[in-house]
């Protein structure tokens, strides 16, 4: 019933979640276009996906913060297979909250990567998908963007900005045949989170990837992965500020 997503663009393709998702699409024989910051790592990911069944894999090097080059990279990507069925925007950093509190520069650097560069590339992507009149735009935000918490509000603020942007984009493109997804993975055990103590709420990148792929095929709106994060966040958002300022979560 759903048509196959066979041409997929991935921004931030060497991140653990992006890599795990790309492997699932590779297993279906997709054409994958990987955009990553480090050319060696991107090439290694491409070789891996070829063996795992991808019909064709192309790569491009881009630092997402290098906004002036977005259009050039996307132009080249678009000409490869004359457009895409879907894009996954997966790049991001997890800033150290302590450093971000102490240094304006540290706070803004991570905000640039997580919000500014994402909004920039999504603005360009949105216009291309709108012109195509079809496709899926999925971008990885975070439940942390749902409410600012003392332990990670710099990260949360950027992911929240991205979520609001995606919400508007979804409304704008709905009538144009383009589905916009806000992917909200809970705690994921990746190199980005290696220093965290892991508990029962943690998921593997493979599990999150399966949720992302399913969402890209048939999901709508804000997609929490695993789904119970929707309820966790609903409760967290309901706590009155007077109480919220006193609790440590």
């Amino acid at each position: 019933m759903t048509t196959k997503l066979s041409r997929i663009l991935i921004i931030g393709a060497t991140s653990a979640i992006a890599q795990a998702t790309a492997r699932l699409f590779a297993a279906e024989g997709a054409h994958l276009y990987l955009v990553g910051r480090d050319p060696l790592r991107t090439a290694a990911a491409a070789a891996d996906l070829r063996v795992r069944g991808a019909t064709e894999v192309a790569t491009a090097t881009l630092d997402a913060n290098d906004i002036l080059h977005h259009a050039e990279v996307l132009d080249a990507a678009w000409s490869q297979w004359r457009g895409f069925d879907a894009v996954l925007v997966a790049h991001g950093v997890l800033p150290n909250q302590q450093q971000s509190q102490a240094s304006v520069e540290a706070a803004l650097t991570s905000f640039d990567t997580n919000a500014r560069s994402s909004i920039a590339i999504l603005t360009d992507l949105a216009n291309r998908f709108e012109a195509q009149g079809a496709g899926v735009i999925a971008a990885i935000s975070s439940p942390a963007g749902g409410r600012g918490r003392a332990s990670n509000y710099v990260y949360g603020a950027a992911k929240g900005a991205l979520a609001v942007f995606l919400s508007g984009l979804r409304q704008r493109l709905h009538a144009k045949g383009v589905r916009v997804l806000t992917i909200l993975p809970g705690f994921v055990d990746t190199p980005m989170t290696i220093s965290f103590k892991k508990g029962p709420l943690w998921s593997s990148p493979e599990k999150v990837a399966a949720g992302i792929k399913q969402a890209m095929y048939s999901g709508f709106g804000e997609v929490y992965i695993p789904g119970y994060w929707r309820w966790i966040m609903a409760v967290i958002k309901m706590i009155p500020e007077r109480l919220f300022v006193r609790v440590k979560i």
Binding site: D38, R41, A47, D48, V51, P191, I194
Partner: protein, 440 residues
Amino acid sequence: MSPRVSMPVSSWGRLCSPEHSVEPLLDRARAAHIVRASAPGLAYGNGRSYGDVCLNPGGTLWTMRGLDRFIEFDPANGRLECEAGILLADIIKIVLPQGWFLPVTPGTQFVTVGGAIANDVHGKNHHRLGTFGRHVSRFELVRTDGTVLRCAPDENADWYGATIGGLGLTGVITRAELQLRPVPGPWLEVEYLPFGTIDEFFALADDSEEGFEYTVAWVDCAASGPRLGRGIFMRGNHVPGDDPAAPPAARCMWFTPPFSLVNRLSLRIFNELYYSTHRLRAGRRRVPYLPYFYPLDHVLEWNRIYGQKGFFQYQSVVPRIASRDATHEMLATIARSGTGSFLAVLKTFGNVASPGWLSFPMPGTTLALDFPNRGANTEALFTSLDAIVRAAGGRLYPAKDARMPRDLFVSGYPRLDDFLRYRDPGIRSALWQRLMPEMK
């Protein structure tokens, strides 16, 4: 910015979980740099070795699972190149639908390629194809001084021999090329034959090696007296067939009981049932490869069944000439102790030479079984078993070991002296410090 994190890490036997400073290797290009900067340390794959060969308490562990990329696969000739942290399970999933399989596979598919090389693992077809290392056509070894060596039978051959079965002590294996073997499909035809005594086991083994690629036996380690040495012999070959139905989802042992669920009573009951059931169902059957090769992989974290104190695996090999008597004596000793495991494995190794200097297999008979950790009682049993292995001129398997006496290691591995010259001084493991404390 490399994350440096301290966390408890244990091996499959769960005997202890010491703190380690964990340094993930995520990217081939940076591996040499990280290894040099954070040495001394030790490569840690998927943590499936039983004892302390994969631990470095208080020190650095380079975790390898992030290096899990394929590099190249040629379905025309079965050559596969991959990073060392990839699991055998991932390889099988990709290559089996294209008509290829691992030439040698251990009893779990949840080990990394690097771990399989460093422990030179073996499988049920040892008498045909030897050890895993024989099918590794080359690999890359990163030394802690920053040098990177390509190793193959005809390139850095000494490093190749020292590293296969080298317990991770010669450097960090980052990528490898394997020669796979063609198979007609995902099925095996397996014949189950009950036997009543050790002599019958050896007769079946001799009889089967010619016509069957895979031979192995389950032995009832709780049986004593006239039943001593009884078991079920299983011999099989790959056969053609379509994809089997997907196996039921793996179960998981969700909790760790306070004490071992394997005890004298449960062992007797289980073994009686297992033996009788298989005796009734003796004969030929077609079996999908998963339950045949990896029966325990169906229960994730099954190692928890032995309780909070963990367990040991004791795996020995004794030379052919001493096989019958030594095996009989070991089984009698174990039966007297009243301890042991549901899965006790008996298998004859063939003459195919191992490429590794410290490889475990030798022509003869191997016996492997688990024992819940009962402290001094368990060690007393092991001391008796050691004496039998020592007298027979055999050896123990370091990949399984957490306690072998030094003399048994030295006498069991005659090429140890050659090996010492290739050990990387920037690599440290609990096993090495225990067995070779003077080497640091």
